[in-house]
């Protein structure tokens, strides 16, 4: 009671501050009380003590009651009563419930269990039945419910019972493919979910879950492509995996499915160069219900297989020897080496121990301009004439040449390259400070670029990340921190809390410029004790960099979709790559289906890659669709391409059809309920008691609402009048 009093007083205080009328009333009553007391004292002096005290007490009680009345004093009254328990049934009517793996279909089994429980419990409880698939709704007639061919959203089902104080019986196979279940569970406060898992192993399905492939490959060279195949109820089955190019078979493999996840490797040699579309396909087995997930399309950039390069080096150096040795192993690259003996002469040249013509200065420019790639290793800027620098700029900007700059003490000096012809090509700003330091730096791959072809030491992304974690340390670095904004940092060199770019890429329209900020790759390789492994990785890194820089694709606009086919209400993610020398101002996108045009298309430009756009839209209905994209430059359409895709009837429900016992158990455990298999659900009859729920309700009663208080006041006032009359007081 004291708590209520405290509360009511607090509330009163609030009323004072918020209700002007109440405040005025209190003031008036207080004034009236003071006035009565004053008049009484002034005019009735000399009255006997007993009537004086009696009158004073009566008037004080009246004033106190009036004050309580005005201050809205209240208390609680408790009521107890009993009511029937509510039990809510959630019945899964999604498409996967049509699977007949429990003697009958899962849905029929669920209905049988429901009827059995209803018969057992009779009418001793309040009943509510909700059916759910992609949506949830209350069932009024049990005869009307049936599987509706849609996907499953347990989230929608649980949100229907979120606000109820009820015991819920969930009859489902636990296959959930829409919405998030666990966040819904946190919102269930007074609801216990008892799950009955209905289903067994489900259907047989063989699915091509992923294709691992190189983004870039070289003509006439082995290309390794891996297919990741998931199987359900098909263990031990022999299947055929085929790889096709333009519908023609280029490779195939027969395997026996031994595990849940199986990997098949296929090799082929690319015959023609360009951006080539391939299709990986698992030939469907006779009794396989879902064939839509048996194939995937993907693109590989196949480049020509011979490249010319020029390597300029300031002087003989272990880095030069290391790189030259590695490059000589790559048959695709034909390099000419210019090693400065002084500003005007070069060392004699041997490639694979065969003497070459000693390079002469006047041949330098013509050799560069007929090459695909120019490597400059730590050459002091003043070794070049203005004409040569201008030609190097022209080679990169106008002749689609690529540039690889290697660090060292001389190459990135600000007094030379700054403000000269190639200054604006560089991916960094020169500051004028000494930037070459010999120290130990840890090499770290930039996470956002773990799939970038330039630093892909393995076609498998996770393996690539692992390789880079163990690639070792670098022992010298050009610490450049003024990187230009559009430059893509691929690898970092870390020292304590500080990190500096180690390998960066700048795309300058079609041209590519890569900088490696060290002349110590040879030491990284050399100081790694595991020679056989490191040799492979460092060699691969150099190969990848040279290949990435050398490849020049035809000018094209390509459209890639994130999946090969979609289902209704799916989100379609698309990627547009425009390989062009010209700057693209914008793109125009049009998507049409059998139902008409899709208006709501979102897209953005990926700033890390020139001329790449990505976007998304939703497809509401099944049918054939077409996406058309135009690339606009200076108000003209430069490129146009079209891609067709299908939105198929939903097969999501049949992709993983095994009873998801774990999810159902989780739902029950987290809500203090219990899980039952469909064949031992009888226990639920004991676990759920139909004892009536005791309901305790508290009713708030305000003094103002009680007429007795008014009567008491009136009676006290009358008593006061009687007392005064009794003693003959005015």
């Amino acid at each position: 009671m004291s708590n209520y009093l405290t509360y009511s007083l607090k509330k009163t205080k609030l009323n004072y501050s918020q209700n002007k009328m109440t405040l005025v009333e209190i003031l008036l009553i207080t004034c009236a009380g003071i006035l009565v007391f004053y008049l009484y004292r002034k005019n009735i002096s000399g009255i006997p003590l007993f009537p004086k005290i009696t009158l004073l007490t009566l008037r004080s009680i009246v004033i106190l009651i009036v004050l309580l009345f005005i201050s809205n004093f209240f208390f609680y009254k408790t009521k107890k009563y009993y009511q029937k328990k509510q039990i809510t049934f959630l019945i899964d009517t999604s498409e996967s419930m049509t699977i007949p793996d429990v003697g009958t279909t899962r849905f029929d089994k669920a209905i049988n269990i429901l009827k059995d429980l209803l018969n057992f419990w009779g009418s001793n409880f309040h009943l509510k039945i909700i059916e759910f698939s992609s949506e949830a709704k209350i069932v009024h007639n049990l005869k009307t419910i049936k599987p509706d061919g849609k996907s499953t959203s347990l989230e929608k089902a649980l949100s229907e019972v979120m606000r109820e104080k009820s015991e819920v019986i969930l009859l489902s196979d636990g296959i959930n493919n829409s919405g998030e279940v666990y966040s819904s569970l946190e919102k269930l406060k007074e609801t216990k979910v008892f799950s009955i898992g209905i289903g067994k192993d489900g259907l047989k399905d063989i699915k091509l879950t992923e294709v691992i492939y190189p983004r870039i490959a070289v003509q006439e060279e082995d290309v390794l492509v891996k297919a990741v195949i998931f199987q359900e109820n098909a263990k031990g089955e022999k299947i055929k995996v085929v790889l096709k190019q333009e519908k023609g078979l280029i490779s195939s493999s027969d395997i026996v499915l031994k595990n849940e996840e199986n990997i098949v490797e296929l090799k082929f040699k690319a015959k023609k160069s360009g951006l080539i579309e391939y299709q990986m396909e698992i030939i469907p087995t006779e009794d396989e219900k879902i064939k839509q997930n048996n194939f995937k399309n993907f693109y590989i950039n196949i480049s020509k297989n011979k490249f010319k390069g020029v390597f300029l080096s300031a002087a003989p150096h272990p880095e030069l020897a290391f790189l030259k040795r590695e490059i000589s192993k790559f048959e695709k690259f034909d390099f000419t080496y210019f090693i400065f003996r002084d500003k005007n002469n070069f060392y004699p040249q041997y490639v694979n121990n065969k003497k070459q013509t000693t390079p002469i200065r006047k041949n330098l420019l013509s050799t560069i301009t007929t090459s695909d790639i120019l490597v400059i290793q730590d050459v002091p800027p003043n070794y070049f004439s203005d004409i040569e620098l201008k030609e190097i700029r022209d080679f990169v900007l106008n002749k689609r040449g690529s540039l690889l700059l290697l660090g060292g003490e001389n190459g990135f000096l600000s007094d030379g390259y700054k403000n000269n012809y190639i200054d604006d090509l560089l991916p960094f700003n020169l500051t004028g400070r000494k930037n070459y330091f010999e120290d130990v730096f840890k090499v770290q791959l930039e996470k956002n670029n773990s799939e970038h072809p330039l630093v892909s030491l393995s076609d498998d992304v996770l393996e690539n990340i692992k390789i880079w974690e163990n690639v070792g340390t670098v022992f010298s670095l050009n610490k450049i921190d003024k990187i230009k904004p559009e430059v893509n940092i691929l690898v970092w060199a870390e020292k304590g809390q500080s990190k500096f770019p180690f390998i960066v890429l700048r795309k300058y329209y079609h041209s590519k410029i890569v900088v490696i900020f060290t002349d110590g790759l040879w030491q990284m390789y050399f100081k790694n004790p595991d020679v056989s492994k490191s040799a492979t990785y460092y060699s691969k890194l150099i190969y990848q960099i040279l290949l990435f820089l050398s490849i020049k694709l035809d000018e094209t606009l390509t459209i890639n979709l994130d999946r090969d086919n979609y289902q209704d209400n799916d989100e379609v993610n698309f990627f547009v790559d425009i390989n062009s020398d010209k700057k693209i101002d914008d793109i125009k996108i049009k998507v049409t289906g059998e139902q008409g045009k899709i208006e709501d298309i979102l897209y953005t430009q990926d700033t890390s890659l020139n001329n790449r756009y990505e976007g998304k839209f939703e497809v509401a209905n099944e049918g054939k669709y077409k996406i058309e994209i135009e690339a606009i430059s200076d108000d003209k359409v430069l490129f146009k391409n079209v891609k067709n895709f299908d939105v198929l009837p939903s097969f999501l429900e049949f992709e993983r059809t095994k009873l998801n016992k774990d999810l159902l158990k989780d739902i029950s455990n987290k809500t203090d309920g219990k899980y039952y298999d469909f064949n031992n659900y009888q226990e639920i009859k004991k676990d759920i008691s139909l004892k009536k729920d005791k309901i305790i309700e508290r009713e708030k009663i305000e003094v103002r609402q009680l007429p007795i208080f008014l009567i008491i006041i009136m009676m006290l006032l009358i008593l006061e009048w009687v007392v005064r009359r009794r003693w003959g007081l005015p």
Binding site: A321, F340, Y350, W522, A535
Partner: protein, 224 residues
């Protein structure tokens, strides 16, 4: 007096700073590791030879080099600080199993070993190199090989004769890796490294040839 003292300290500090800067600059430049081995074959022979060669290398080429050699044992990871090792002496050499393994790794990873017989080392170096590469032979390096023409032209004469220890012409032998790279170069009956010191009263022409061939070997290693 006080002022002179402060000035003296300041100048001293500047010299100290400057010299440490120079020292640190030189540390990362090219040098040669002299192999300290067991077996009693005088690994330390002619200690001034390498510093003299490196001084001449700096004078004649644009290669950034230190003028001090590094003394290394083959089990020491310091061998990986330089791509160039040098071994000489007269008499026996004995590599331990760890040294054999480490030297093999070093050479396969891109390192280079120059062995110069200063009389009586031939049998030992051939035996020990067989331990390092049991599957490879020391074969004579043809005069057309870049090591004879990387900077100076020895393509007609082969390795120069500095001191004659045996009958016959001077010879250069090599062990090559699977890609055709010369990993080990061994000069027999030539003794080029004796020409890098002035203790044997050799003629200026003979010493000049010794320096030229020494520089050729270094340029070859750093550019091929």
């Amino acid at each position: 007096m006080k002022l002179r003292g402060i000035r003296f300290i300041l100048i001293g500090m500047i010299i100290l700073l400057f010299s440490s800067y120079l020292f640190s600059e030189g540390e990362r430049y090219f040098t040669i590791g002299r192999v300290k081995y067991s077996g009693g074959g005088d690994w330390y022979n002619d200690p001034q030879g390498i510093p003299n060669l490196l001084k001449d290398l700096k004078k004649r080429t644009n290669i950034k080099a230190q003028t001090q050699q590094k003394i290394v044992t083959l089990t020491d990871n310091k061998i990986y600080d330089t791509p160039f090792l040098f071994i000489t002496g007269h008499g026996n050499i004995n590599f331990t199993p760890d040294e054999v393994k480490n030297l093999r790794n070093y050479l396969l990873a891109g390192g280079f070993l120059y062995a110069d017989d200063d009389y009586g080392m031939d049998e030992a170096i051939r035996r020990e190199m067989k331990k390092v590469f049991p599957d490879k032979e020391l074969t004579e390096v043809p005069f057309s090989h870049p090591i004879y023409n990387s900077f100076y032209d020895f393509s007609k004469t082969g390795p120069p004769k500095i001191h004659e220890h045996y009958e016959g012409p001077p010879k250069g032998f090599g062990i090559f890796d699977d890609w055709g790279r010369l990993m080990v170069y061994y000069t027999y009956n030539s003794n080029i490294s004796d020409g890098w010191v002035d203790t044997y009263n050799d003629s200026p022409e003979v010493r000049e040839n010794a320096f030229k061939m020494g520089i050729n070997i270094i340029v070859y290693v750093l550019s091929n």
